[in-house]
């Protein structure tokens, strides 16, 4: 009898035991709960408070005052969005079923490219499209022009070998990543492996390792390593502007470390922190960077990599069919 009682008690006690073990989910539509949750997640994991000189506690006080129980989802979204935009980071976003917020760094500088001008006056109609690369000879065959408008993550060795072979006998290459908002970082290394004939230390990446604003892991050192059939180690001009962001900025940062690469154009948009992803207590999703990137010398270019030669597209020139940024690059090569 005692055994039966023991067994019944044991079985019944365990039916709800997981609730005792587990922490409660935070499932709430209350604006205050959602606000506190998002602010805390950022506080513990965002990687650029110190660099951007943002007093996150003061931001809390400012936007907390705008939170009240009866506010609509629309109003709450605007408060959360405005709070995150204090960080001025295009890698930060919050998405609801009715709206997506984002800080657009492209608007902080001029659009430094007019593709129509390039097509009509430099490439013509018979240009090549190899994977994601649009390219052809310019300047009477003396220079190779390669346009990459995004980093889709599918650049192949075959494509790079073809391109390098095609422009092998030119005096230089113009690699145009103006208004390239980024994508998959893997393409960076596939491309750079053809632009250097030796291993080069490009940058160091640090990831958040704790809730303190200064808590980061040991650096992950990133290198360009030569690979493929051949390398092009003559002059390579990288064209960039404020719309060159994320993987585009990583590529530009890498160009700073490679001796035969020169950056012409405008300061990039930055975006050298990899974003995470998460969900709020009401189901909305968010993201913000949790890594930071430094040059081998310890410089942080999160606000943008400055060009070696500053050059902004001039409307007078484009009206005349000239891309003065490409023209400046040609001077550098020829």
């Amino acid at each position: 009898m005692k055994k039966k009682i023991f067994l019944i008690l044991a079985v019944s006690s365990l039916l709800s035991c997981e609730k005792i073990m587990f922490e409660d989910e935070i499932n709430s539509n209350e604006p205050r709960v959602i606000y506190e949750y998002l602010w805390k997640q950022c506080d513990e994991k965002y990687s650029f408070f110190k660099y951007k000189n943002v007093n996150w506690n003061m931001v809390y006080e400012t936007y907390s005052a705008m939170i009240y129980n009866e506010m609509t989802d629309d109003s709450l979204f605007n408060v959360l969005s405005n709070m995150l935009q204090e960080l001025k980071d295009s890698h930060i976003a919050i998405a609801s079923p009715f709206n997506v917020s984002q800080y657009d760094v492209r608007l902080t500088g001029p659009v430094n490219i007019d593709w129509r001008v390039i097509q009509e006056n430099y490439l013509g109609t018979d240009f090549y499209i190899t994977g994601s690369f649009t390219h052809d000879f310019i300047a009477n065959g003396q220079v190779g022009y390669i346009r990459l408008s995004t980093f889709p993550g599918n650049a192949t060795s075959f494509e790079m070998d073809y391109i390098i072979e095609k422009y092998r006998n030119t005096k230089g290459i113009i690699f145009d990543i103006r208004q390239n908002e980024g994508g998959a970082a893997s393409d960076i290394f596939t491309i750079l492996s053809r632009f250097t004939d030796r291993e080069i230390h490009l940058f160091d990446s640090y990831i958040k390792s704790g809730p303190g604003h200064d808590e980061f892991s040991a650096p992950l050192s990133v290198y360009a390593k030569p690979s493929g059939k051949s390398q092009f180690i003559k002059k390579i001009i990288v064209l960039a502007d404020r719309g060159t962001y994320s993987a585009g900025s990583y590529f530009t940062l890498s160009a700073k470390a490679i001796p035969n690469m020169v950056i012409i154009g405008d300061t990039t948009g930055g975006g050298l922190g990899m974003p995470n992803g998460g969900q709020l207590p009401n189901g909305w999703v968010y993201r913000f960077p949790v890594t930071k990137t430094l040059t081998p010398d310890g410089i942080n270019y999160e606000n943008g990599i400055p060009p070696d030669i500053y050059c902004i597209l001039k409307n007078n020139d484009t009206n005349s069919g000239l891309d003065n940024v490409i023209e400046r690059a040609l001077i550098e090569i020829l």
């Binding site: 035991c17 935070i26 990831i207 990133v222 290198y223 990899m274 998460g278």
Partner: protein, 273 residues
Amino acid sequence: MKYILLLLLIFSSPALIFGQEFIPTKKQERKLRPKYIEIGIGLDYSYFCDFATSPLIYKGMNLQYSLGYLSQSKEKESFFNIYYSSGTYNNIENEITLTSHTMKGGLTYHKLTRIKKISGNKWNFKIGGMINLTGNLRNNPSLGNAVSGLEFVNTIFTSLKAERYFERKETKPRRYCISYQLNLPLMNNTFRNGYAYVPNAIGNDPTLFKDYKVKYFSGCRLNSKLEFYSYLHNNNAIKISYIWDAYKTGGHFDKFQMANHFVQLSLLFKLNN
């Protein structure tokens, strides 16, 4: 006379020998112990919360498959089992449905011995240990770079089992057994995403398990099984199980917790006679 007595003794000795109870050696006992291959299929209702990416619970019900080897008698028992389940787990909040595509699997091994002091003809009690290795791979495309969550939880348990055998006396008698096994953790270890959750993956080197952390004696886990066996006339058996397995990782930040409820039907094919 003494020779007659001696002869009687010699002829009767086989009777003495054959009349004695046969006590098998350990090796013989192991050989005689019923052994089964077990093939099971069932429903896995589980829910989890990965506080590193979301404060919300994801729930799902999917099919689970298992394959096992059981060696079982009233005296001793050992069981090795592998199981697998995959499917979707959803969170639905305010017209937003986020889905995690999850693959789960694991293996368990337990070894039990009869507690003679408290066991009897009807009730049989066993004690021993169990090891359970579990892995989950979760993909939630809505979470950007935090799309993948991977955790391995391995636990060493101490196990207590109560069995009740009974027979149905008919023209063809049938044997049944109902048992309850409670597994209490001795050591729980976890391997899962690090603090930032996403890997520091900007480099060109492999990033699998980058920044993942191992933690020993971390978290908590409980496990129990309620099983009903029906032994068939051909010595095979059918088993219906309800298995409960709940665990959570430890540490100060961003825990992962999961509760699994498996209802399973298994066919046991006897290997020895």
